[in-house]
């Protein structure tokens, strides 16, 4: 079990994953901080290490359109992007999911313009959160590699047949070189085998894809998409379970640390969870009863798994790396967390802390401040909070 360990960046880790599962068609367009994924894949194809068609598309819109076409024709496909590129793909993202095409895409998360900024936050990832894609977020380069391999198995599962996006933080993960155990082709294909799907474009069995649906039919298509996303919960759990058995690394929809009887549980997603964990471990040593939940599976949102870590908490602090100006929730992750608790009748204070926009570093000091501010609400209820959100690390 397991391949060799090599020092590579998050971007390269993703490219190695796409190679390991023997993708047939890659279409991608360069954008910082994702570019190295595409460069590495081009190198693999150029060297004959990967037998794939590499389409040098003229935009991200065409990148996703081309892999949608290739997937419809029965190929295993991969693309990658960030920020503006993801926004340009937005139209086609909805189409890929409702047409039930198992496209896999990696997203090196980045702030969106304006002002133009190439550094990390989750604005791009969050902007695609309601497109019917399964969305996973990797914490480091190893996870980016592993989740990309798992993504193919999940996407192509006959119970699912949905596109999957694997996010990982731009620069913090995409450009950080870490030791990564890279899976070999045979073991990756054993875990995520290829199969000929039932409905593909083939002159032997003509079919029409992407037809016009009137008010008599459209609704059913969308509900079927919803049902498939819901069904994917079980498939993802099985895929993670099987991954652990095959390769020894165990993934879950959420990770909980010190969440039993915690006065405060922090909720974070992406590389900041690593910093948060270091903070939590230190704080625990000095007697602060703080815990942490890392969200790995963002869509479908893992309510049950999350709730188990929150039901004993005094206060919850959501750490958001994106902003929805003018919304009732301000940070997008906050809305999912609040609803998870509200639906289960748990009335504890939930605060939202927006951090690290446009690549601003998120430090242990930030988590310390979040913790202090949050613990002031211990024993209170939701309605006692005057201001639900705060920006951490921003100029006054």
């Amino acid at each position: 079990m397991g391949g060799k360990v090599i020092p590579i960046s998050g971007n390269y880790a993703v490219a190695y994953a796409a190679k390991a599962v023997d993708v047939d068609v890659v279409a991608a367009y360069p954008i910082t901080p994702q570019t190295a994924v595409v460069e590495k894949l081009a190198e693999f194809v150029a060297n004959g290490e990967l037998d794939a068609e590499f389409i040098h598309v003229e935009s991200e819109h065409s990148a996703l359109s081309a892999v949608v076409g290739a997937s419809a024709a029965g190929a295993r496909v991969f693309t990658a992007t960030s920020a503006q590129g993801l926004l340009l793909m937005y139209e086609v993202m909805h189409i890929a999911s409702t047409m039930r095409l198992p496209v896999v895409m990696s997203i090196a998360t980045r702030a969106i313009s304006a002002p133009i900024n190439i550094w990390c936050d989750h604005s791009d990832f969050m902007a695609s959160s309601d497109t019917g894609w399964i969305m996973l977020m990797a914490l480091n380069a190893q996870e980016a590699h592993d989740l990309t391999v798992a993504a193919f198995r999940i996407a192509e599962d006959p119970e699912v047949e949905l596109p999957v996006a694997v996010g990982y933080d731009g620069f913090w993960v995409s450009h950080t070189v870490e030791p990564v155990e890279v899976l070999e082709k045979d073991e990756a294909l054993k875990y995520a085998p290829k199969r000929r799907r039932q409905y593909v474009l083939d002159p032997e069995r003509p079919l029409t894809m992407g037809s016009l649906a009137s008010p008599d039919w459209y609704f059913e298509f969308r509900v079927q998409l919803h049902d498939a996303v819901e069904r994917s919960r079980e498939v993802i759990l099985r895929a993670f379970d099987e991954f652990g058995k095959s390769f020894g690394r165990v993934y879950k929809p959420v990770d909980g640390y010190f969440t039993d009887n915690a006065d405060l549980v922090l909720i974070s997603m992406g590389s900041a969870s690593g910093t948060a964990l270091t903070y939590v471990e230190e704080a625990r040593k000095s007697g602060v009863r703080v815990g942490l939940v890392n969200i790995r599976q963002f869509r479908p949102f893992p309510e049950e798994e999350l709730y188990k870590h929150l039901e004993g908490a005094g206060v919850v602090a959501v750490v958001d790396r994106a902003l929805n100006p003018g919304s009732a929730f301000v940070g997008p992750l906050y809305s999912d967390v609040v609803l998870t608790l509200f639906k289960r009748g748990l009335d504890i204070p939930v605060l939202d802390f927006v951090v690290g926009l446009g690549g601003r570093a998120v430090t242990r000091r930030d988590f310390d401040e979040i913790t202090k501010r949050s613990l002031a609400y211990l024993g209170k209820r939701m309605k006692d909070i005057k201001q639900h959100y705060a920006f951490i690390g921003v100029r006054e």
Partner: protein, 295 residues
């Protein structure tokens, strides 16, 4: 589809010429919406529609998939399958131009068919880059200030040709043997090929449904539409017109030109004369002759 629809005639003959071993990638438009009302379909060949501006990109992906799957032994290598992209003028010369350029430049083995009805007909007759001079549309109405469209039709064939593709041709449904020969040739040639198909539109051009073929024929006879092909860079006019009819013969049957003055008709005549001269120059002979007024 509307009674007398030019695009319907184009599609019927296009598919007949192509045969069964094709996969179609279709842009959003009249033909797409009218032929695939779920759960029915008019297509007996594999067909996909994704969006408006990306038929060429989707076709690129399908072609790449077939190549990869054949090479890797996942599908039958011996079977020849032609990928065909179809788009209207809006989906091709306007919103889909970038994807088309990418597909042509990368050299995909795809035939792209543009059915040109000279405006956004699916949304109800709005001007596109392919709308001809002085044509009325709902967004270029004829009023006190505007006199219909005031810009010349975008020369899409020259844009396509500039990509150095092996085969480009224009076809007209009133010249059906020429139509079949060109579609078959375009499908057989390896690499990106392009067919520009003239597609009269009854409600958009405002004429009686029974006049579709007559109008199509008049387009060629007046020199407004020229049937030609460009193979390996060499242009050949496939329907020579020794003596042209005046453009008025073509314009007067269509309500979209109903507001034109004598001067405006003369202006259109001058544009057509220029276009004809340009083609004759490229050919190096007078394949399209001068205007001859009917007795």
């Amino acid at each position: 589809m509307c009674q007398g629809c030019g695009a319907a005639i184009v599609m019927r003959h296009l598919l007949k010429a192509l045969g069964k071993d094709v996969i179609i990638a279709h842009a959003t438009g009249c033909v797409e919406v009218t032929t695939t009302p779920y759960p029915e379909t008019a297509w007996r060949v594999p067909w996909i529609h994704v969006a408006f501006e990306n038929a060429a990109a989707v076709a690129s992906g399908i072609e790449a998939a077939i190549k990869a799957l054949k090479r890797k032994g996942a599908i039958d290598c011996s079977k020849k399958v032609k990928v065909v992209a179809i788009g209207g003028d809006g989906g091709t010369v306007d919103i889909g131009l970038q994807a088309l350029s990418g597909m042509l430049e990368r050299g995909h083995n795809v035939l792209y068919v543009l059915y040109d009805n000279e405006a956004y007909m699916n949304t109800g007759i709005q001007r596109s880059g392919a709308t001809p001079m002085y044509a009325w549309t709902t967004t270029t109405p004829a009023g006190r200030v505007w006199r219909g469209e005031w810009r010349r039709k975008k020369d899409i064939v020259s844009i396509v040709r500039a990509h150095g593709v092996p085969y480009v041709a224009s076809v007209n449904l009133a010249y059906i043997t020429d139509f079949y020969a060109k579609v078959r040739k375009a499908a057989e040639i390896e690499g990106p090929t392009f067919i520009h198909a003239y597609s009269p539109c009854v409600p958009g051009w405002r004429y009686e449904p029974h006049l579709t073929v007559k109008i199509a024929k008049l387009a060629v006879q007046t020199g407004i539409w020229i049937n030609y092909e460009i193979e390996k860079g060499v242009l050949r006019v496939t329907t020579p017109v020794p003596k042209r009819l005046p453009v008025e013969e073509y314009l007067k049957l269509q309500g979209r030109f109903g507001h034109l003055t004598k001067e405006e008709i003369e202006a259109i005549q001058r544009i057509v004369d220029e276009d004809v001269e340009y083609i004759n120059k490229l050919v190096g002979a007078t394949v399209i002759g001068p205007v001859e007024r009917r007795g």
